[in-house]
Point group: C2
Chain length 341, copies 2
C-alpha cells in the first residue's frame, strides 16, 4: 500500500511553463506581480501536472498550517475508551470540526501537547481550543509564552482576568437546577461535586454554597473524582443517604455520578422522585441520564452550538482579528422523571 508519493512539485510546474519556481509561487499566491499571460501559462501547466502546493512545505515557511487543535481536558487523564458514553464531548468535537472546515481549517483533536507522551503533531496547530481549562492550566501557560492563539471553553479558574475564554455561566446553571429541585419538593438539597479544578467544578461549588446559605441552611456537599464514574456516585449516594439527616434532593455535576446516586437511592429502598429528587447539571444527552429508570433531569449545555461559537472566535484570532467575546453560553434544563412526581 505505502509506496512513494510522486506528486508534482513547484519545480516541475516551473520547468513545464518555462518560468522560475518563484514565478509559479507568485502566480498562485498573488504575492508578486506576474503578467496575466504568464500566470495563465503557469496555471495551465499546473493543471496538466495535477499540481497542488504542498501544505507542509508551505507551513514550514509561513508557520501557518491551517489546522486548529482541540484539547479536551477531561479526556486527558483518562482511559479514553472509558469515556465513549459521554456524548457531550463527541458532539462538541464533531461540531467543532464541521465549523472549522467551513472556515477553511482542519480541526484536530490532540492530547495536551505539554505532556511528554503526546504525539508531536499537536504542536503544529495554528491555534487551540481547550475544554475545559484546569487551574493554572499548563497548556495555557505554554501557549501564552509562545504567542500561540487559543481559547478556553470555560475559564481557567486561576486567571479570571484573561479574555481568552468562553464563559460557560456555570453559576446560573447550577442555581436554576437547584431552584428546580426545590420547586420539585426538595427541602434539603445536597451536592455531589467533582474534583477536577476547572470552572465547572469550582463555580458550581460556589454557586451551591451561596444558594444554600441564602436559604439559611447548612451545605451538604461531597466530592468524588470524575473518573470514579458511576461507582463513585454510588459511594457518594451511600454516604449521603446514610446520614442522620439525609437529603431529600441531590444535585450532581456529572451524569455518571447522578446515575450512581440514583442506584444508591434505589438500593436503600428510597423512591425517586418520591423520597429523593435527583438532578444533574450537565450530560442531558448521555445514556446515564437518558436511559436510567427513572430518567434523570439534567441540563443540555448545547455542545453543538458552543463548539461553533468557539471555532468562530478562535479562527478570528488566528487571522489576527480581535472578535467580540460572546456572553455566557446558552443551555436548557431538561426535566425528566427523577424530579417529576
Amino acid at each position: 500500500m505505502a509506496g512513494k508519493r510522486t506528486r508534482a512539485t513547484i519545480k516541475d510546474v516551473a520547468r513545464r511553463a518555462g518560468v522560475s519556481p518563484t514565478t509559479v509561487s507568485h502566480a498562485f499566491s498573488g504575492n508578486g506581480t506576474v503578467a496575466a499571460e504568464t500566470a495563465e501559462r503557469v496555471r495551465e501547466a499546473a493543471r496538466e501536472l495535477g499540481y497542488r502546493p504542498d501544505t507542509v512545505a508551505r507551513g514550514l515557511r509561513s508557520s501557518r498550517l491551517g489546522v486548529l487543535g482541540l484539547v479536551v481536558r477531561p479526556l486527558d487523564p483518562l482511559d479514553t475508551a472509558f469515556l465513549e458514553g459521554v456524548d457531550y464531548f463527541l458532539r462538541f468535537a464533531g461540531s467543532a470540526a464541521l465549523a472549522a472546515v467551513e472556515r477553511g481549517y482542519g480541526l484536530m483533536l490532540v492530547p495536551d501537547p505539554t505532556r511528554a507522551d503526546a504525539p508531536a503533531v499537536g504542536l503544529a496547530c495554528d491555534g487551540f481550543l481547550i475544554t475545559e481549562p484546569v487551574e493554572n492550566d499548563p497548556l495555557i501557560t505554554m501557549l501564552t509564552r509562545e504567542c500561540v492563539p487559543f481559547l478556553g471553553v470555560g475559564r481557567d479558574p486561576a486567571r479570571p482576568a484573561s479574555p481568552d475564554y468562553l464563559d460557560l455561566g456555570t453559576g446560573r446553571i447550577v442555581a436554576e437546577v437547584l431552584d428546580h429541585l426545590a420547586a420539585a419538593g426538595g427541602s434539603r438539597v445536597a451536592a455531589v461535586l467533582g474534583t477536577d479544578r476547572n470552572e465547572w467544578n469550582l463555580d458550581a461549588e460556589t454557586a451551591y454554597l451561596d444558594w444554600v446559605r441564602a436559604r439559611g441552611q447548612r451545605p451538604l456537599a461531597v466530592r468524588r473524582a470524575e473518573v470514579a464514574g458511576e461507582a463513585g456516585g454510588r459511594e457518594a449516594g451511600e454516604e449521603l443517604f446514610g446520614m442522620a439527616e439525609p437529603p431529600d434532593a441531590v444535585y450532581c455535576q456529572t451524569g455518571r455520578h447522578a446515575a450512581g446516586v440514583l442506584a444508591a437511592a434505589r438500593a436503600r429502598g428510597l423512591a425517586v422522585p418520591g423520597d429523593v429528587r435527583i438532578a444533574c447539571g450537565a450530560d442531558s444527552d448521555s445514556e446515564h441520564t437518558r436511559s436510567s429508570v427513572p430518567p434523570i433531569t439534567s441540563v443540555d449545555l448545547r455542545p453543538v452550538r458552543l463548539a461553533r461559537t468557539a471555532v468562530a472566535v478562535l479562527a478570528d484570532r488566528v487571522e489576527g482579528i480581535e472578535p467580540p467575546v460572546p456572553g455566557p453560553a446558552e443551555y436548557e434544563l431538561i426535566v425528566r422523571g427523577s424530579t417529576r412526581g
Copy 2:
C-alpha cells in the same frame, strides 16, 4: 495575540550542547549511533531550552505528519449547518478522533481534497478515512494514484473487489428491518430510498427488491435526495399514501425521510402504527427518530465502535502493517412506537 513564535530550534540545542545538529537529530530519533554520554548532554540542553522538534519541518522531510484525515461524504455536498442534527457523524468523528489519539495520531476532519475549494491542509494527511464512498469515488482514485493509504467506511460500489473498505453489511440490516415491519403487521411494504450512489443506498435497494420478490410481491420504491430531508420524505409519503393500493408499512433510509413520511401519514389521518408502520434503517440517535410522535423504530449503526475499528485498520496501513479486515459491522434494531402497537 499573534506575535512571532520564538521556539528553540535544533541548531540552538546543538550549539548549547557543543555538537552538530546532526547529532541532536540522532540523539532524539535514535537513528544514528550517539555515545550515551553525548546523548545525555544533548537531552539536557534540549530540556534547558524547552526544545521540541518541529513537526512540520519533520513532516516535510519524512513525508509523515502524524495526521489521519476523515472525509465525511454525505456532509460534503451539503450546507453543513443543516446536518447538525445528524448525530451519527458527530459521534463517528468524535470517536475516531479519540481512537486516533490513542494511536499517537491526530485526526482531522477535512472536506474532499479533490474539490477545488478545499483547504489545502487536507492533502497533508498520512492516510484517509472515507465515509461513505460514492460510486467511482474521485478521492479514492486520487489516493490510489498517489499511493496514499485510505480506508472506506462502506464500499465504493464500483470497486467491489477492493480490500480497502469496511463492510457495513447493509443487506443484512435492511432485511432485518423489513422482517420486523412484516412481523409488526405490514403486508405491503414500500421503501423510500436515497439518491447518493454509495453502498448504503445501492445495497439497500438490492436488498429491498430481493426481499419483496421473495414474497412474491411487487416492489414499491420511491427515491428522494438525502438533502431534501424531511420535506423530501413528506413528498415521498404523500406519493405513496395517495396511490390506489397504498402501502401499510414504509421502510426509510434516513431519519429525516422517515420523519417526513410520518408527517405525511398523520396529515392524511392515518394512524401510526395502526394503519401504517414506519421504520428507518439508520439514525436511531437522531432527534428525527427519537423525539417524533410516535418515536420511529430505527437502527443503531454503532458509529462509536465502527469509528474505532476503522482507525485501527487505517493506522496499521499507514505504518505498513497489513491488518486483517474485520467482518461486517455490528448494529442493533431499536424498536419504538412507530412499529409497536
